[in-house]
């Protein structure tokens, strides 16, 4: 049975699109069939980060409105056979997304893929609520600073209220992906600490992605971060393995021991 993941945050610019591409590619590297879906209609970016911008013919809106079949709109990645992109439309706006149309597309994607990773637009309006509506798992992307944390908190509240699972009385799995973590600034106290963010949001941690120029470079080259070897790349790959159910200890960048080792170390002292 396919699992639908929504990558969301509330706040813009925290790394949703980068994380969608990286997690999607990392899951596909495991040999599983993955579709990444861009819900940011009108401000599409996922095609750029995936390096597929010149291959877009049909898009999500065309499929939702019945102008194109799903198979016509899906773009197969040139590097990974099992990775597909369903791009957003750049010329339309989010009002063209209907709830029924999105439900039909998500149902069809579930039949063909192991993972469907939805890149949510920023904000808490229609585009974002439709992107999260059919999700089984939410990856909440947060930067270690107060406004991002508060917006993520708001989004978690919406995930518990506005998703199909929540309305049926089921739970939606929520995971925190802390991005742009800078060990030096954290050390100086310019950034929220991992423990502070976890205390406020109180959802399980999926991974910590270190701030790195490798991320920007990969985006500009149109390559998902996980396809090139780097520190953020292995952090994203570990996060994808945790999503797939593997138990891998989380390490805080800049610290030699894992967060759990550190906690134990304190207790022993």
């Amino acid at each position: 049975m396919a699992k639908v993941i929504v990558v969301t945050s509330g706040k813009g610019g925290v790394g949703k699109t980068t994380s969608t591409a990286a997690l999607g590619a990392a899951l596909a590297q495991r040999g599983e069939k993955v579709a990444v879906v861009d819900f940011d209609v009108g401000l599409r970016n996922l095609d750029l980060v995936m390096g597929a911008e010149r291959r877009v013919v049909y898009d999500l809106i065309n499929v939702v409105q019945g102008d194109a079949k799903l198979a016509q709109a899906l773009i197969r990645d040139k590097r990974l056979d099992t990775l597909f992109l369903l791009p957003a439309s750049q010329t339309r706006d989010k009002d063209n997304l209907t709830a029924e149309g999105v439900a039909t597309v998500m149902d069809e994607l579930r039949q063909h893929f192991d993972w469907v990773v939805c890149d949510s637009p920023a904000g808490i309006e229609r585009g974002a609520t439709l992107a999260m509506r059919h999700a089984d798992i939410a990856v909440v992307v947060t930067n270690p600073e107060v406004s991002s944390v508060r917006d993520s908190d708001r989004i978690i509240g919406l995930l518990d209220a506005k998703t199909e699972r929540a309305e049926k009385g089921q739970r939606i799995d929520k995971h925190l992906l802390l991005t742009r973590y800078d060990p030096i600034r954290a050390e100086r106290g310019d950034m929220l600490k991992v423990e502070d963010v976890l205390e406020i949001l109180s959802i399980p941690l999926l991974g910590i992605i270190p701030e790195s120029s490798d991320v920007l470079r990969a985006s500009n080259l149109g390559t998902p971060v996980t396809l090139v070897e780097s520190a953020p790349s292995s952090a994203y790959r570990d996060a994808a393995r945790r999503l797939a159910g593997e138990a891998i200890p989380i390490t805080v960048p800049g610290e030699k021991r894992g967060i759990f080792g550190k906690l134990f170390g304190r207790r022993a002292a």
Binding site: R150, D153, R154, E199, I200, S202
Partner: protein, 256 residues
């Protein structure tokens, strides 16, 4: 300079509960109205001046039919202050307002035939006193122990969420986030950090208090009086604290 004497006084809204008689009409309405007429004949003025709530929860009735019923009742001197259990589609403009959240109290028996004065027999358990007027029976009903409802939230209250519970206490096992709001008729208990707003005693209960394990709130209020946390003793920040009202002043103290 603004003259403090000209500054507008804040408007305080308070809730208050009253005891009203509840009439539950049954279909067919003709026969039920006949029964009501019979009751009114036996004790003149039983309904006069009494606040009456019409409970239409368990009957299927259209808008026009409900309107006719209300008119029939008002022609008998029965004044309906509100309708309980009605769908918005059943209420036309000009009809009594919809009421909800009523708390059950003891039943009031209809007067027996042959009684000269309008009198209500007290509820079961109270001393029968048929010579007392009906008004005296009402406090006896009020004095019965009433369970105070409480709301327990096992999940954290997130930014942007508002919990409104005018019926009683609210207990939150997790934290209340910055940008979240709790409005309780009774006290508020937060076993995590209180970072948002907490408004206790919102229905005019000055005895309500706020308890939290870690005070980082944006605002606390009891019975309509509020205080920003910046105006409180800085030493209380991050501490386990209780907040209560003393006269018109909000007091706060660390929990020992």
């Amino acid at each position: 300079m603004t003259d403090p004497t000209l500054a507008p006084k804040p408007i305080r809204l308070k809730g208050r509960s009253f005891l009203a008689l509840v009439l539950s009409p049954e279909q067919p309405f003709d026969r039920w109205l006949d029964g009501l007429d019979d009751l009114a004949r036996r004790s003149t003025g039983f309904f006069l001046g009494r606040p009456i709530v019409l409970d239409v929860e368990n009957i299927e009735v259209g808008k026009a039919e409900l309107k006719t019923l209300v008119d029939e009742l008002s022609s008998r001197g029965v004044r309906i202050m509100g309708i309980e259990g009605a769908l918005p589609s059943q209420l036309a403009p000009g009809m009594p307002p919809a009421m909800r959240g009523g708390r059950p109290a003891g039943d009031i028996a209809a007067p027996e035939a042959g009684e000269a004065t309008p009198a209500a027999a007290p509820a079961a358990g109270a001393t029968p006193a048929s010579d007392e007027p009906a008004v005296a029976a009402l406090p006896a009903v009020l004095a019965q122990p009433r369970t105070v409802p409480s709301l327990i939230l096992e999940e954290p209250v997130r930014s942007g969420q508002t919990i409104i519970f005018p019926e009683g206490d609210v207990t939150v096992l997790g934290s209340v986030s910055s940008g979240a709001e709790i409005v309780a008729g009774g006290s508020i208990h937060v076993y995590g950090a209180l970072r948002g707003r907490a408004l206790a005693g919102s229905v005019g209960n000055a005895d309500a208090r706020i308890f939290c394990r870690k005070l980082e709130a944006e605002l606390v209020a009891i019975d309509g009086l509020y205080k920003m946390v910046d105006d409180m003793d800085a030493r209380l920040r991050g501490q386990a604290v209780q907040v209560w009202l003393e006269g018109d002043a909000i007091k706060a103290q660390a929990l020992g």
